[in-house]
Each structure stands twice: as C-alpha cells, then as structure tokens.
C-alpha cells in the first residue's frame, strides 16, 4: 500500500552522518555493497564488474565537495543514501504498492515481488536514493539493513546497519530519531544536525552534522621590505649576502 501509514509509531529509525569526521574512505559504501549483495534486496547487480566500465547498483555513494574559497574553504566528504523521509514521494507515486513506509519504524522499503520497474519512484526522489537494477528489472534502495538491525542471530553490538558498523572514524550513527532522549537525537541537537534540501518538503529522517567551525588561520606574515634582522640573524644575513 503506497498510502503513508495512518498512525505511524513515534519510532523513526535513521542515520546521523558527521560531515566533520568523515574522511571519504568509502568503507561504508563498500560494506553496504558487501552486506546487501546477499541481504534483503539481493542481488545488488554489477554490470561488467571486470570490464573496462564496471557499474552497478549501490545504496550509498560518497561524494567529495569543496565548499567556500581560500583560507575559509574546505574539503567535505559526503555520503549520500536514502534518508527514509517522513513524506516520501517515492512511496506515494508508486502505482503498484511495491514501495512502502513501515508504520513500526519508518523504514522505506521496496517489495521486489510487486515492483514493475516503472522507475517513477526514482524520479520522485530528489536525493537519488533509488537505483534501478537492469538485470532484475526492479528498483532497489537502502533498507537501513532491516535484516541486520532486528537480527537476533547477530551479536547485539552488530545489530546496526553495515555502513555504521564499518565506519573507521565513527562518522555514522544509527538510532531512533523520533525519541528526543536517544543518543542520536542528542547528538543532532548538540551539533546542529540538519535536513538535506528541507525546502523540498520530504522531511528526511536522516540528519547531517555540519563540519565544525575552525579557527581562521592567522595570515602568513609577509616579510616587510627593508626590515633589518638583528642579532644572530643579522650576522647570517650578512654572511649570505657576501
């Protein structure tokens, strides 16, 4: 059913991504690919994996940006994946009921057995979260590792999305963003976490933590013309000037 849940639970599972600490290593994307190639949405098709132009379906893509100019500018690594929005137009445009938002925890999923591969959901997503699998003929997307986070056969510490478990710098956090007392909610509050493209009106669940402000580096002092060194430096200056 592509109508959004009438009485959604307060629980809103999602990710918090720290753009200050992300180093752009792509480990999250690779571990996502590894887990999901055998997970809920498997297979995660690759076309020409060993050819000249390999390509495939990924749920997580890591961009790198330059923001700002000069001394104030900085490089920001930016993982992009499904934000599990509260107003997911990708779900409501679906003609078959294959796309749905879970009432229990807000995860947005695709039922591969119902999907006709019309691709309209991918057009409706401004974040590019949905990728069409040409081999299987259906749409694929991030499942928030629904087959890990509730998986009682895994040790409790591993019941987090694959991207979160693998991040070497702990730039990715998983939790209930509907609970203001949860660790992720507190993190978002303390760091000024924000929504991507809020004007689009999709109300993403995932939040991004902005890069921390850095002290402006002191300007490099230019050697003033005609300035005379003193002491030992004066002696060195004279020696070098011979």
């Amino acid at each position: 059913m592509t109508s959004l849940p009438q009485n959604p639970s307060a629980k809103k599972l999602g990710l918090v991504i720290d753009l200050d600490t992300c180093v752009g290593c792509h480990a999250c994307a690779v571990n996502c690919k590894e887990w999901n190639a055998g997970g809920h949405m498997a297979p995660l098709t690759d076309l020409e994996p060993y050819g000249a132009e390999p390509e495939g379906v990924w749920f997580n893509r890591v961009h790198a940006y330059e923001a700002g100019d000069g001394a104030a500018g900085r490089t920001v690594h930016f993982p992009r994946s499904c934000l599990h929005c509260e107003e997911p137009a990708c779900v409501t445009v679906c003609p078959t009921g294959a796309s749905y938002k879970r009432a229990a925890d807000g995860i947005v999923l695709v039922n591969e057995d119902l999907c006709i591969g019309c691709k309209l959901c991918s057009w409706a997503c401004p974040y590019g979260a949905r990728e069409f699998d040409e081999d299987v003929g259906v749409m694929k997307k991030c499942t928030l590792c629904v087959d890990r986070i509730y998986n009682e056969t895994l040790p409790e510490a591993e019941r987090v999305p694959a991207c979160v478990s693998t991040c070497p710098v702990s730039a990715r956090h998983f939790g209930d963003l509907g609970d203001p007392e949860s660790d992720v909610s507190k993190l978002v509050a303390s760091r000024g976490g924000y929504d991507l493209a809020p004007d689009m009106g999709y109300r993403p669940t995932n939040k991004y933590l902005p890069p921390r402000a850095r002290p402006t580096p002191a300007p490099v002092p230019a050697a003033a013309a005609g300035e005379q060194p003193t002491g030992l430096l004066r002696w060195v200056d004279r020696l070098l000037s011979l």
Binding site: T2, S3, G24, H26, A29, E53, P54, E55, W58, R61, H63, A64, Y65, E66, A67, G68, D69, A72, G73, R74, V76, F78, R80, A89, V91, T92, V93, C94, P95, T96, G97, A98, L114, C115, I116, G117, C118, K119, L120, S122, W123, A124, C125, P126, Y127, G128, E131, F132, E134, G137, V138, Y194, D195, L196, A197, M200, G201, Y208, P210, P211
Partner: protein, 311 residues
C-alpha cells in the same frame, strides 16, 4: 531527464488517440449532419482506439517487469500513474461502445450520455498523464499547472486536426472543426511559451541547498562517487545542448503549431474538403508533438544533479 522513446510515443500517440476519441464523441452533438456516417465514425473511433492501445503497449516497453503491469491499477489513492492506468482501462469499453454506436447508427439519450462520458474519460486520462509529471517536485520545470495544460491541449489539437482530416476523407467539410483546431494550436503556442518562460526562471536545487554546505560558501564537486556512469547519472543527468534546444523549440512551434494552423486556414479559405492539406496538417501536428515531448524530458533538470555539481 532521459527522453525515453517508449514514453514519448506513449504520451503523444495515446494523446492523439484520446483527442480523436474526444472529438468523435462530441460529433454526436456538434455535427448532427454526420450522424449515420457509419464509415466515418467507425473508422475514426477504431483509429483512436488503435492509437491508444499502441501508446499503452509502448509504455509497457519502459517497464522492467512488463508482465506485472496489471499491478499498476491498485494504488489509485495516491499515485497519478495508477490513476492514469485506471482511467485508461475504464475508458476503453466506453470508447468501444461509442465505436459500436457509430457503426450501427445509434441515436437517443442513452447513447448521447455515453458519448459525453467517453469525452470526459478521454480528458480525465490525459489529465492524469499530465499530473504524473506535474506532481514530481524534484523536477522544477514540470511543477506547474502549465505542464498538464500543455498535455491536454496537445491531445485536443492533434486530435482535432486528425478528426478534421478524417472528415475530409469522407467528404465532410468540417469548417468549425478546422477553426477549433487552429484555435487550439494558438492556445498551445501561448501555453508552451508560458511554460518555457517559467521553466527558464524555475529555480532548481543548487549544490549549496542539496548538501547544506552553503553555510560554508559556494560548493563545487571535487570528486564524484563513481568513475563510470550509473543509473542515476544516465536517467536524471541527461541535458540537451542549448543551441539544439533552441532549434528544436522552433521545430515544435513552427512545424507542430504554425504549419498545421496555416494549412487549416488554407483549407477553410478554399472552402471545400481538402484531404491532402488536412492530412498534412495532422501529420505536422503529430511530428511537432513528438519533438516537443522529447524536449520536455531532455530540457528538464532533476534535483539529484545538484549533488553532482549541476546548478
């Protein structure tokens, strides 16, 4: 957006089919002198139904799993695509009955109501098609009532020229019908120019908005996430070169609107059935519609391209 030929042929051919069906349904009231012209009405309605079915079949080529297409009728509560499918399926038996009515020369209140229903369903189906695109917020150029208006006017205009050409083949002079077609071409020209003017000013997502990094300063992509193209960049990243777009706009308006109107005006001026002129007008209108529909997709920028540095 990638201009998929299956979708272009679907929207233009089924649009023409619904337009033709609309005018032939209305002929019941507007052109009583043609009532009983079984061959005219029968051939016209049959052509309309064939065009609609051809368009619908073409649209299923776009699907990854066409054998499951029937599932698309279920989510009419939220999905304009589903509503379009339902409207198309509901209208089909009504149009088939109208075809039967023409063939057997039926008349009376019941048949008139049926014809009116057919005309309304034709409008409703094309309206749903337009709304599929109009409701997609990530494509700023489409999020305007002009999008659906243009879809409706194209169906009405291409259908009107086709109906006028058909009437002329069967020896009817549809002066009023031709005049209506010319009027629709003029309205379409205005609507399309208004669409283009709005699209030029439509502010799509910028890399600063998309990433939220505008707080630091201007954002440019340093490194893309992948070296080769993928589904997202191919499907959403298609952009037509500006100079080609300008030429194609001239073809869409010149060949697709001005030329059919001119040919129609000559047909009225010569005051008789002019099958060659009106057939050429109908063909030109369809060619223009196909060019315009290609541009409709090719010129539209999707929000996700902002993550790849487009603005």
């Amino acid at each position: 957006m990638k201009p998929a030929l299956s979708v272009i042929f679907f929207t233009t051919l089924s649009g023409l089919g619904y337009g033709l069906a609309f005018w032939l349904s209305l002929d019941w009231f507007l052109a009583p002198e043609r009532a009983g012209a079984a061959w005219f009405g029968g051939a016209g309605m049959a052509a309309a139904i064939v065009l609609i079915v051809a368009g619908l079949l073409s649209s299923t080529l776009h699907l990854g799993r066409p054998e499951r297409a029937w599932r698309a009728f279920s989510q009419w509560r939220t999905s304009w695509l589903s509503r379009e499918g339902v409207a198309a399926v509901v209208s089909m038996p009504v149009l088939a009955l109208i075809w039967l009515g023409w063939v057997i020369g039926a008349s009376g209140a019941l048949w008139t109501i049926l014809a009116l229903l057919g005309a309304l369903l034709a409008i409703a189906t094309v309206y749903c098609t337009g709304m599929i695109y109009q409701s997609l917020k990530p494509i700023a150029a489409w999020t305007s009532k002009l999008t659906t208006l243009v879809y409706l006017l194209y169906a009405a205009m291409t259908g009107a020229f086709a109906a006028a050409a058909l009437a002329s083949w069967f020896g009817f002079f549809g002066g009023v019908q031709i005049a209506v077609a010319i009027l629709l071409a003029g309205m379409l020209l205005f609507a399309k120019i208004a669409y283009w003017r709005r699209a030029a000013g439509a502010r799509g997502l910028t890399p600063e908005d998309a990433t939220g990094l505008g707080r630091i300063g201007r954002v440019r992509q340093l490194e893309a996430p992948h070296q080769t193209d993928n589904y997202i960049t191919r499907e959403m990243g298609f952009r037509v070169a500006r100079r080609h777009a300008e030429k194609l706009r001239l073809i869409a308006t010149g060949v697709g609107m001005a030329l059919p109107a001119l040919l129609g005006a000559v047909a009225i001026a010569t005051g008789g059935a002019a099958p060659a002129l009106l057939t050429a007008a109908a063909a030109a209108a369809l060619v223009g519609a196909i060019v315009e529909r290609w541009l409709f997709f090719a010129e539209a920028r999707h929000a996700v391209t902002a993550f790849y540095g487009a603005r």
